[in-house]
């Protein structure tokens, strides 16, 4: 799994930093490093750009996995430099930004947009599960209609399927064509004849929370 991100435009970042003279930069050694949106190289590049824009950089670090509890200790270990900054600019995904925000009293500002939690296939990252709380993969041939069909349809294709492609984005396959083909291969097409009840959108009451023990 990977948290897919893209860098925010520098203009938006500098606007968010308008009132901060001194900035502390925090990168992440996992997903944003893999995607080159917020690892060490990107943190250093941002440092240069912000300095050129007249900001003082109070310091920087790259936390191995910013969404982890380890972030707390990383922040503590750089407490002095962080105290000298007006705000923290974070190039991890939003999970990391919220971790930083949880443990630091300085404002944490995101430098990237978090797109989705997805799977990796070489250079391609794709969203395959929306954590709906009521998994239907058993009868959809292991393809998620809630995520892979932009309309989240449960009863079969809409009228927009175009030669097996999706009307919303013709570069993507129609999820329902894929589901049909997979079930056909498996000799399980009868599963598609069954009417589905309307989806329960409260299967997970947002925000999701699970308490163990």
């Amino acid at each position: 799994m990977i948290s897919a991100t893209e860098q925010k435009p520098l203009e938006e970042i500098t606007q968010s930093l308008e009132k901060c003279k001194s900035v502390y930069l925090i990168g992440c050694g996992t997903c944003t490093t893999i995607l080159h949106t917020g690892g060490k190289a990107e943190v250093l590049a941002l440092k240069d750009k912000l300095e050129a824009a007249g900001k003082k950089i109070a310091g920087w670090m790259v936390i191995p996995t910013a969404c982890d509890e380890i972030t707390k200790y990383a922040l503590e270990s750089s407490e002095k430099e962080i105290q000298a900054a007006d705000c923290l600019l974070v190039t991890s995904c939003a999970y990391g930004v919220q971790r930083v925000s949880q443990w630091a009293d300085k404002p944490a500002i995101p430098a990237v947009n978090t797109l989705f939690i997805g799977k990796e296939d070489g250079d391609t990252y794709s969203e395959v599960c929306a954590q709906c709380g009521n998994c239907v993969l058993a009868w959809t041939g292991g393809i998620c209609p809630i995520t892979s069909c932009p309309k989240g349809l449960l009863e079969g294709p809409c009228g927009g399927t175009n030669k097996g492609k999706c009307e919303v984005d013709p570069t993507k396959d129609c999820a329902w064509t894929l589901i049909y083909k997979r079930l056909e291969q498996q000799g399980r097409l009868d599963l598609l004849e069954k009417e589905q009840p309307p989806r329960n959108y409260q299967a997970v009451v947002r925000p999701g929370r699970l308490i163990t023990k």
């Binding site: 932009p150 309309k151 989240g152 349809l153 449960l154 009863e155 079969g156 294709p157 809409c158 009228g159 927009g160 399927t161 175009n162 030669k163 097996g164 009307e167 919303v168 984005d169 329902w176 064509t177 589901i179 049909y180 056909e184 097409l189 598609l192 004849e193 009417e195 589905q196 009840p197 309307p198 989806r199 959108y201």
Partner: protein, 294 residues
């Protein structure tokens, strides 16, 4: 008083409906003209629902207008813009005001329209909307609560006879029939052979099928639809026929082709009727009907 659409459907007569697009704005002059022009010439007038995901005067409002002016409205309802609460309450309202025919659609993608950043709803889909109608008719809402007064509708759906691949489309078609679709208005079909094949598979089901006829206005439009509109396939012969039309006569040619197709469908008893979509050219529908000999 027009004959209720349900009665016409069950009369065995060749049924003709056509769609009217509501205005973009509050000026109803043109749409009233279309209603008055067409209400006595067809068996039902479909009011489109933010078609193509572009914001318009509501289909419910247009249906009331059709009703007021003595026409028989068919309320198009998509699941794109309203959740199950809003859809159900609109259905209750429709029924209370004498709007008894509903065409259940899933709805085009938001990204095709003129509010590309809007939230797509799709709480339920076309099939579940059909089921919702049948549930309301039983005196309950989708939450299982009792209704004080239940509606009664003539409910229909759409099908794309030339969808590629066709099999998933046919599965959904069968499900819609089982969920109580009394009629189908199909996506545009231009190839009579393909329509024949589809009808061979669809005939056995207990429902009425009206072939979708979209007026061609130019060869360019036909090529554009082939390239961009899902489930539409205009054969080359028709494109050639359109492009050979004399300058300024393309629309006339399109009317002739539409009329010819309707006549073939009627003469061969291919379908139970036709649904004419003369997009932005509603005023040509009488000419299409005349060309079809209706």
């Amino acid at each position: 008083m027009p004959t209720p659409f349900k009665e016409v459907l069950n009369s065995g007569k060749f049924v003709v409906t056509c769609e009217i697009a509501p205005p973009k704005g509050t000026n109803l002059e043109k749409v009233i003209h279309h209603i008055d022009l067409l209400k006595d010439k067809v068996d039902g007038l479909n009011a489109t629902d933010n078609q193509g995901s572009s914001m318009r005067y509501p289909s419910l409002g247009l249906c009331l207008l059709i009703k007021e002016r003595g026409g028989e409205p068919i309320l198009q309802m998509t699941c794109r813009d309203r959740n199950r609460l809003a859809l159900q309450s609109d259905l209750l309202f429709a029924y209370s005001r004498g709007i008894n025919n509903v065409l259940c659609l899933t709805g085009d993608a938001i990204t095709l329209g003129d509010h590309k950043q809007a939230k797509p709803v799709f709480d339920i889909d076309s099939l579940q909307l059909l089921r919702t109608i049948r549930t309301l008719e039983s005196g309950k809402d989708l939450g299982g609560n009792d209704l004080d007064g239940a509606p009664k509708f003539c409910a229909g759906a759409i099908v794309t006879p030339e969808a590629q691949p066709i099999e998933p489309q046919m599965i959904k078609f069968r499900k819609k029939v089982r969920a109580g679709a009394e009629f189908f208005q199909t996506q545009a079909v231009y190839d009579i052979g393909n329509l024949r094949n589809f009808m061979q598979a669809a005939r056995q089901y207990n429902t009425k099928i009206m072939a979708g006829i979209v007026l061609l206005t130019s060869a360019g439009m036909a090529r554009f639809m082939n390239a961009n509109v899902s489930g539409i396939f205009v054969p080359q012969a028709l494109i050639d026929e359109m492009s050979k039309a004399e300058k300024g006569k393309a629309l006339q040619k399109g009317i002739e082709i539409a009329g010819r197709m309707i006549k073939t469908i009627k003469d061969e008893k291919l379908c139970d009727g036709v649904h004419i979509m003369a997009i932005n050219k509603e005023e040509t529908v009488p000419d299409i009907l005349a060309a079809a000999g209706l």
